[in-house]
Amino acid sequence: MWTELMGRLSGDVAAVSAQAGGAAGLCLAVVLLCRWAAIHVERETLVSLLRGFVQIALVGLILALVLNRGLLVGVVILLAMTVAAAMIASRRAAGLKNALLLSFCAVAAGSGVVITAMIAIGALTAELSMLVPVGSMVIASAMNSCSQSAERFRADVTAHAGQVEAGLALGAASAAAVAPYVQSAVYASLIPRLDSLTSLGIVWVPGMMAGMIVSGADPIYAGIYQFIVMAMIFAASSISALAITLLLRARAFSPAEQLILRRGAAAQIKR
């Protein structure tokens, strides 16, 4: 296995690493352009580029090492990815008690349901080489929706605290008082996913489809399979967005239906 791995590193991997350097160089050139326009993203971009490269190269290495292992290894990898996704998404719910657990539940609900459904309909085989790459796409999308809807819900409710309390003061249930903000949070997080579906094939050919075609798959098959993946990503995003928003809604009020998710009241939110 090591011999095979070393063989890869010395061949294609070395070439693609040089190309990655070129891509990073282009990004740094754009950063310089931003600097010229007084937009300072130098440090953040550099850290993100380095971090992204190291992380994805490590994942590639791990996959290369475990590619022929059993399904259990794949499940463990996906679980670890879900935990990492929850940690990133939970930053949008910072200040709320159990933010990490809530984010994990939301991401796991979206990606878990969809990955299981994909396996059930045969769109995803329970092989590690397919499960991990496609599963990670689903998890990443669930994470993005989770973050976006959490951020939007939190921002809307704190910005409209007066309106929410006006509803409560008129005898509305807490769920009714924030219903417009639940709807807008979930919808806002789905806009990128809806746009992706709408523009599929017209504005962009996703990387996965392109990769399949490059690998010799039938373009029609690759296209339809890409649609399946995109549809599943949309489903995972929807479930995660809805789950985190409803979980946050429950945490936004006390048992006596008092709004506790207020600007500058992070310390009071924990209960």
Binding site: Q163, A169, L170, G171, A172
Partner: protein, 243 residues
């Protein structure tokens, strides 16, 4: 010059003192980390009575009012409505019975009629168009049903806010500086309207105001709050002096 008297007068208005209190607070307190925003307030308000709560900014006036319909949770003491601890009443029912008009109207996007119907709709109760018309006529806005709330003036919006609260048929009316954002003409109009509705419906009213002359114009009794503590309460002419 306006100022509260330095003497603490704690007697009841004679005509109301023998009635059962509609609203009562017993050692009502609310503390947040490092600060007692409302500190040990005990008082009674009777049916048909208007109690003004006055005091400097940050004295806890609005905090006190928010405890009365349980928008905030007391950390000590209790509130009684008709002699019953309000923790025994479901919060939604409590807030219907103790309606609040806020400093800003906070109308919901849509028409005036949508806003008026909001409260009854929460209880799956329909409010007929003629009832909406009657409420709007009562607050001086006849024919406003279909107006978009975004097109209303500040005074009109506050009148709609009052009508929206009245649509719930509250027994207690809590007013949180309802005229502070209005010009003098609108302010007097709202004051007269509120007073006539309170008299007509025999409602119990607690109004928070920083405006002593306003308290003098409309309140039977006045309570002075300073740093969360009640420093005076009694018939308005005895508690505040408007020079």
């Amino acid at each position: 010059m306006r100022k509260a008297s330095s003497t603490s007068t704690f007697h009841q208005r004679p005509s109301k003192a023998n009635q059962a209190a509609k609203l009562e607070t017993r050692h009502l307190s609310r503390a947040i980390p490092g600060k007692a925003v409302v500190n040990d307030i005990s008082l009674q308000v009777h049916p048909g009575e208007v109690l003004a709560v006055v005091g400097p900014s940050g004295s806890g006036k609005s905090s006190f009012l928010r405890l009365l319909n349980r928008l905030d949770e007391p950390t000590g003491g209790s509130v009684l409505i008709d002699g019953r601890d309000y923790r025994e009443i479901a919060p939604r029912e409590l807030r219907r019975r103790a309606g609040m008009v806020m400093q800003m109207p906070f109308l919901f996007p849509g028409s005036v009629a949508d806003n008026i119907a909001f409260g009854p709709r929460q209880r799956q109760e329909a409010i007929r168009p003629e009832q909406i018309d009657a409420l709007l006529t009562r607050v001086g806005l006849p024919g406003y049903q279909d107006r978009d709330v975004s097109l209303l003036s500040g005074g009109e919006a506050q009148r709609v806010s009052l009508a929206r609260t009245l649509a719930n048929a509250p027994e207690v009316l809590l007013l949180d500086e309802p005229t502070s954002a209005l010009d003098d003409t609108s302010e007097r109009g709202i004051e007269e309207l509120v007073l006539s509705i309170i008299r007509e419906r025999q409602m119990t009213c607690v109004i928070v105001t920083h405006d002593m002359p306003q308290a003098a114009r409309i309140a039977d009794r006045t309570m002075v709050l300073e740093a969360g503590r009640m420093t005076a309460i009694g018939p308005t002419p005895e508690v505040i002096r408007v020079d």
